[in-house]
């Protein structure tokens, strides 16, 4: 009996572990990638950066400008690596046809009779009896071991790029009202749908739930047309922050109302009846009983709606102008990608930077979130 219980619990633990790993691995890979050099990112997987690997690289020596004359020889000296990353040269070559023709420290004799030597730390020396004439240096192909190396360049690129701070503030300016307004409206609405009797209540509820199936993409143009007319009427910009708040409120209202109604329905009937007997008005019942009891549900709806608005790109693009004072974070990150997506490495970093606020919100409201989920499902 005891063994059986352990077996099933081990199985569920293993299953849990499996799903955790399944979810964490790509995130972890993305995290590692965000610290990697953009050219490395393009040619090798993130797991290769964790251990010392062998790499093939092309470097170029200095040109004729840097030669010095010494006892009848012309010499060019230097180091192949731009910065010290702990790379060690194993072998090298001087043409693309044979990239590891010489061992490190070995002297290679070139077609023009000049000699070249490459050392383990990347130092090289070109030596010739006649003067070097070429302006550009000679290519050297090396095979080297490369220890794990990471860089903060991507983060610097994203964080200190002009306009990102403003975009961050813009997103907050969009996300907070666009979360709070629907929350306030739907709390009144759900209360009345749950605890007040009026004509057509069920039909209204059914309509709201039915409106969940309308894709928001369908309503973009009609709403923008209304905004244009309103904007012309009151002589204000059609694309503005209040506009995007209203849009998000409208798009979010159906689902938030449904979730909150679902929760409020599960509150004990007796408690509200007792309040009524004691002479409490609907307003008193709502403020003193229903709201305090619904805090967990509010928190979880807050998180859901906030995450939705925070990560939104489409609504922000359509209902806001694209100039710096209105552009939102997601749109700004897309802009940083470049016209043809040439800077895609900043996506890795951008993902983590834009993730910070939702993570903060989630962890600070997490205890409500879990309670909210459980509370809605168990009828008192």
């Amino acid at each position: 009996m005891k063994i059986k219980i352990n077996f099933s619990s081990i199985l569920s633990q293993l299953l849990l572990l499996f799903f955790v790993i399944l979810w964490i691995t790509p995130t972890f890979g993305l995290f590692i990638s965000s610290f990697r050099d953009k050219d490395q990112l393009a040619i090798s997987g993130w797991w290769t950066s964790l251990v010392t690997t062998e790499v093939n690289e092309i470097h170029r020596t200095k040109g004729k400008k840097d030669q010095v004359e010494d006892e009848g020889f012309y010499i060019i000296k230097g180091n192949l690596f731009k910065k010290d990353e702990g790379k060690k040269v194993l072998s090298y070559g001087v043409t693309s046809k044979n990239i590891n023709a010489y061992k490190v420290g070995e002297v290679a004799i070139l077609k023009d009779k000049s000699e070249i030597t490459v050392f383990e730390n990347g130092n090289y020396q070109l030596k010739s009896k006649s003067e070097f004439k070429k302006k550009k240096g000679r290519r050297i192909f090396i095979t080297a071991t490369s220890p794990p190396s990471f860089t903060l360049d991507n983060y610097k690129e994203v964080l200190f790029k002009e306009g990102l701070g403003q975009a961050f503030l813009n997103t907050i300016a969009v996300a907070l009202p666009a979360t709070l307004i629907p929350l306030i409206i739907c709390s009144f609405f759900s209360y009345s749908l749950t605890w007040m009797n009026f004509f057509g209540r069920d039909l209204l509820l059914a309509t709201i739930i039915a409106s969940l199936v309308v894709p928001l993409q369908m309503s973009l143009i009609p709403i923008l047309t209304i905004y244009n007319d309103l904007g012309a009427l009151f002589n204000v910009e059609a694309k503005s922050f209040p506009g995007v708040w209203m849009a998000h409120t409208g798009f979010g209202l159906a689902s938030t109302t449904f979730l909150l109604w679902n929760f409020m329905k599960s509150l004990p009937n007796e408690m509200l009846e007792a309040a009524k007997v004691d002479g409490a008005s609907h307003y008193d019942t709502f403020v003193r009983i229903v709201i305090p009891l619904s805090i967990p549900a509010f928190a979880s709806i807050f998180i859901l709606q906030f995450l939705w608005v925070w990560n939104d790109l489409l609504v922000g693009l359509v209902f806001l102008d694209k100039h710096p004072s209105e552009i939102i974070l997601t749109a700004k990150l897309k802009e940083l990608l470049g016209s043809r997506g040439e800077n895609w490495e900043i996506l890795t970093t951008g993902a983590f930077i834009s993730m910070t606020v939702p993570l903060f919100i989630f962890f600070s409201l997490q205890r409500f979130f879990i309670r909210g989920l459980v509370a809605g499902s168990v009828k008192g």
């Binding site: 953009k38 050219d39 393009a42 040619i43 093939n56 690289e57 092309i58 170029r60 043409t95 693309s96 046809k97 990239i99 550009k136 290519r139 192909f141 090396i142 973009l220 143009i221 923008l224 047309t225 905004y227 244009n228 904007g231 059609a238 694309k239 693009l317 359509v318 102008d321 694209k322 100039h323 552009i327 749109a331 897309k334 802009e335 940083l336 990608l337 470049g338 016209s339 043809r340 997506g341 040439e342 800077n343 895609w344």
Partner: protein
Amino acid sequence: MNIFRIKKFILAITLLVFPTSIFAGSGHYHYDGPDISGAKIKIFGPWLAPEDASFRDVLSIFEKETGASVEYGGSDEFEQIINIDCKAGNPADIAVFPQPGLAANIAATGCLAPQGNDLKQMVLDDYAAGQSWVDLTTYADANGKDQFYGIFFRVNVKSLVWYSPDNFEDNGYEVPQTMEELISLTEKMASDGNTPWCIGLESGGATGWPATDWMEEIMLRTHPPSVYDQWVSNEMPFNDQKVIDAMNFFGTFALNDKYVAGGSKAVATTGFRDSPKGLFTSPPQCMMHRQASFIPAFFPEGVEAGVDYDFFYFPAYSSKDLGRPVLGAGTVITATNNNPATAELMKFLMHPEAHERFMGKGGFLTPHKGVDKSKYASDTFRGLHDILVGATTFRFDGSDLMPGAVGAGSFWTGMVDYTNGKSAKDVADAIQSSWDAIK
């Protein structure tokens, strides 16, 4: 004493006036617009970093001279947003279209404002092959009447092959001058054990477009430009033998495992952004890469133009008398209203100073004849300018001129199918039937 003062005054006046009169005569005069302070102009386009900063810099000349304020905003969802804005009736004053085909679609909805004859005359006078640029921005309006809608600003040359001079030197290869030489060079590279080409077609939702450029280049090099025009307008069906032959000619490069890096299976799955990196790996994965003038933006960091890489003109057959055809693309600037401020900005964008400012920032090529070539940021662009101006035939990217469902749809997917092993005939038939479906 008095006379001396007057003399000094006169001297000062001459010094002030004289230099400006010299510059006014030389043609590189400074843009001098009317005072339209208080006007607000909004521009919406596809340019993002780093082009957006360059373009804003160009606009700052206009702002300084006229006192108007200009706001540029860019998005890579340009196509969707301009459609939404136009339907909702609130587009930006000026729209920068990445392709003329899209501009034609929007013009047909009546959202764009036709431009006057003076702007048209400026294009005819100032651009090399001015008439072809005017034709490319003349579209049917909502009533089906042909109108002139805008100007090309920032063009791309496509007919280029990128290579590493060092890799060519190591192997003793010469830059080919004719298509015959290019074909024999490809064979020679393969027999030497090198891989001649890097071809990558993957580009997210636009996967396949680099292959459409190949098709267009081949069509221009195997048939007269009139055939090309018939093909693009579908007067000649897509499944004509000429097109099928062109596709099979592309196949001799792309479907030969020895001719293309990673083998023919990798062609459709390799990103067009990553594909040229094969020129710079150790050992090199390929020797040549055919792509438009923008591609150096995707080369690895630190490689230098003229040292680590160079380009040559994708050559034409010496046996066919078709001249030096050049394929290109470009962005079209159009206006959505005829406000005086908007019209002035359109004129400003035809001014050499606007072009020269962008040229100096890099990544900008112009057919404007009045610009000072030394203002280009690099020799690469001076070389490209020569190719553009030296073209005997200039044709616009055909897939951009075809209807969206074909040029940005079935043509792309068809080319992917072709590299995955479907026969050229089947692919051409499928593309033609998708074209018939929208007629």
